[in-house]
């Protein structure tokens, strides 16, 4: 195996790690949704899987389409194929994505609108949860009080995982990321009023609990569903039979 080929593997996995479950706000690679990656002379073929065959087809479609786009951006990937296994709409989604039909094109009369609004809804929730984690951490440090939170700026957050997660979510919904941008804002950037701060933080907590709980649920179901065939869990099977660098 050449050094170049190893690099394609790494790039393919890195590209897949940018694909998030829109609802759980976690990478499909960490959730165990990537079943296999096969790289050959023609291109890349990735198989995805989900916790049950009744996972909502709109979310399934978003992940397949996002994986396709992420892989298509990998230089030298070649022909990209993304296939969803074991889902009640596998055939439809796989054919529609391969043909570049888009969501409405894939589902025809079954889809009334594109999924942009649905995706935005969950991006906003993901932002709310990331904001809550940052606020809770500065409250726990004792440096800030709840009443002072409306004044908190990105500058005031310690560097680290929580802050970079928040920055990514802000970028996704179009919020500014300069150092003096306020942390406690609506999804449209409006600062939270001091009188609302306690209630808004509480609601953000409930959002975070809900998202985290769903992730527990999905991981558990995925493990149960594939216990017989793939007890090792989440690591995808990667094969590379490419003969050229």
């Amino acid at each position: 195996m050449t050094r170049m080929a190893v690099s394609v593997e790494a790039e393919v996995l890195a590209a897949l790690s940018t694909v998030l479950d829109p609802e759980l706000d976690e990478p499909v690679t960490e959730l165990g949704f990537v079943r296999s990656v096969a790289i050959d002379d023609e291109g890349v073929e990735v198989h995805l899987r989900l916790p049950t065959s009744f996972c909502a087809p709109n979310f399934a479609y978003l992940m397949v389409a996002d994986a396709y786009d992420a892989l298509a951006a990998v230089p030298g990937a070649g022909r990209v194929r993304v296939l969803l296994d074991d889902h009640h709409d596998s055939g439809k989604i796989n054919a529609g994505t391969a043909a570049g039909l888009g969501y409405v094109g894939t589902f025809g009369v079954e889809a009334e609108n594109s999924l942009d609004e649905l995706r935005r809804t969950f991006q906003r929730k993901a932002h709310l949860a990331a904001m809550e984690r940052c606020c809770r951490s500065v409250l726990a440090s004792g440096a800030w009080t709840v009443e002072e939170l409306p004044l908190l700026e990105l500058f005031d957050l310690p560097e680290g995982r929580l802050k970079s997660a928040l920055m990514r979510r802000r970028e996704a919904i179009g919020l500014p990321n300069h150092s003096h941008a306020r942390v406690m804002v609506d999804h449209d950037g409006t600062p939270v009023a001091r009188s609302d701060v306690a209630l808004r933080l509480r609601l953000a907590t409930t959002t975070r609990v809900s998202i985290e709980g769903n992730a527990h649920f999905c991981r558990g179901l995925l493990a149960t569903r594939y216990a017989g065939v793939d007890p090792a869990g989440s690591a995808p099977v990667v094969t590379n039979t490419r003969s050229h660098p």
Binding site: P51, S210, G213
Partner: protein
């Protein structure tokens, strides 16, 4: 009735089924996928010693149902929630006739809730009137995300749905259970969205809206709505079994619910046979918020009594023996919700 440490609990299981998921009843592959999905839920979230084999799970019948609920499960009264899925099963998934037959044999122990679909228009209204009389309906169970022809679901606040809700008022059907949670084939709309509950709860104050599965995976949307509406309740089916596999997560869910909607609006449900009530009741009575989660107040015995049965008993006018009731009224529609709202 369940008794522990000298405390007695009146138990109402607010969400049970007798289903037939056997291959002989599958209309298509979705019928198999649906029962397989349920079996994965069951295997994933049940303690190992109460996991059934697959064949038992696909069909267990009335005898086992009675034993698991009333013989071993401490249940005083149970409420069937219809799950028809006529597009997936020849003879429906939930077995209407078998369930209704049992309620006739044991009217003191069982209540049957049927379903309607407002997309059936005038003919469906007529059917609802017949069903209300035959089954003596006090409640219905609705799947707003169910597919029907070209339709991908409906909203409770659409004109035809409102006509059905008004008919429920006429017929004395007070309890509208709405499935908002893991669901079947939602598509372009977010089938879990609970915003439609908000609108009709405001307009139909004499109806009680029970959001099954407490809106999971949209807990926060549900809490926000239920905080503002006096007649919105949360059914714990599917949220309950986390008490075993993810007790800290269960603590967060129940903590959030108690904070936002309060102790009078939360209803126990096993979703039998997804899970059997025996272990859920035992674990819930033993359950306490972990000490390192000071953001939630400890759960009191009275709160557990309300959640396990007294709240549902109030909604369904069940006769609770005096020694099992509380001095204060449970399931009180006027109870202040979001009692904790405003605190940090």
């Amino acid at each position: 009735m369940y008794e522990k440490d000298g405390e007695k609990y009146y138990v109402v299981d607010g969400h049970v089924h007798i289903w037939d998921g056997r291959a002989s009843n599958h209309k298509n592959v979705h019928g198999k996928q649906f029962i397989d999905c349920f079996y994965d839920y069951h295997k994933n979230l049940s303690p190992e010693e109460v996991v059934w084999d697959y064949d038992t799970y696909t069909y267990y019948g009335a005898e086992r149902f009675m034993k698991d609920l009333f013989g071993e499960g401490y249940v005083d009264h149970a409420i069937f929630q219809a799950t028809l899925l006529s597009d997936f099963y020849h003879n429906g998934f939930g077995q209407t006739e078998e369930a209704f037959g049992l309620t006739r044999q044991h009217p003191d122990k069982l209540t049957y809730n049927h379903a309607y679909d407002p997309r059936h228009g005038e003919a469906g209204l007529e059917q609802l009137r017949r069903d209300a009389e035959r089954f003596g309906l006090k409640g219905v169970k609705l799947y707003t995300a169910e597919w029907h022809g070209d339709s991908r679901g409906y909203k409770l606040d659409e004109p035809w749905s409102r006509r059905y809700l008004e008919e429920c008022l006429e017929l004395g059907i007070r309890n509208i259970h709405v499935h908002k949670g893991p669901t079947i084939r939602p598509l372009d709309r977010d089938a879990f969205d609970v915003a439609d509950i908000d609108k009709v709860a405001t307009d139909y104050l004499d109806l009680n809206f029970v959001v099954e599965h407490v809106g999971l995976p949209r807990l926060e949307d549900f809490c926000w709505i239920a905080t503002q509406e006096s007649n919105v309740y949360g059914g714990l089916a599917v949220a309950m079994p986390f008490i075993h596999t993810r007790p800290r997560y269960f603590a967060q869910i129940i903590g959030e619910l108690l904070y936002w909607i309060g102790e009078d609006k939360i209803l126990f449900g096993s979703d039998y046979a997804l899970w059997t009530p025996k272990w859920l009741v035992e674990k819930f009575v033993d359950f306490q918020i972990p000490a390192d989660m000071p953001e939630y107040a400890p759960i009191t015995t009275d709160q557990k009594k309300k959640i396990l049965g007294l709240n549902a008993a109030a909604l369904y006018d069940l006769d609770v023996p005096r020694q099992l009731s509380l001095p204060t009224q449970a399931g009180d529609a006027d109870a202040e919700v979001a009692a904790g709202a405003g605190a940090p």
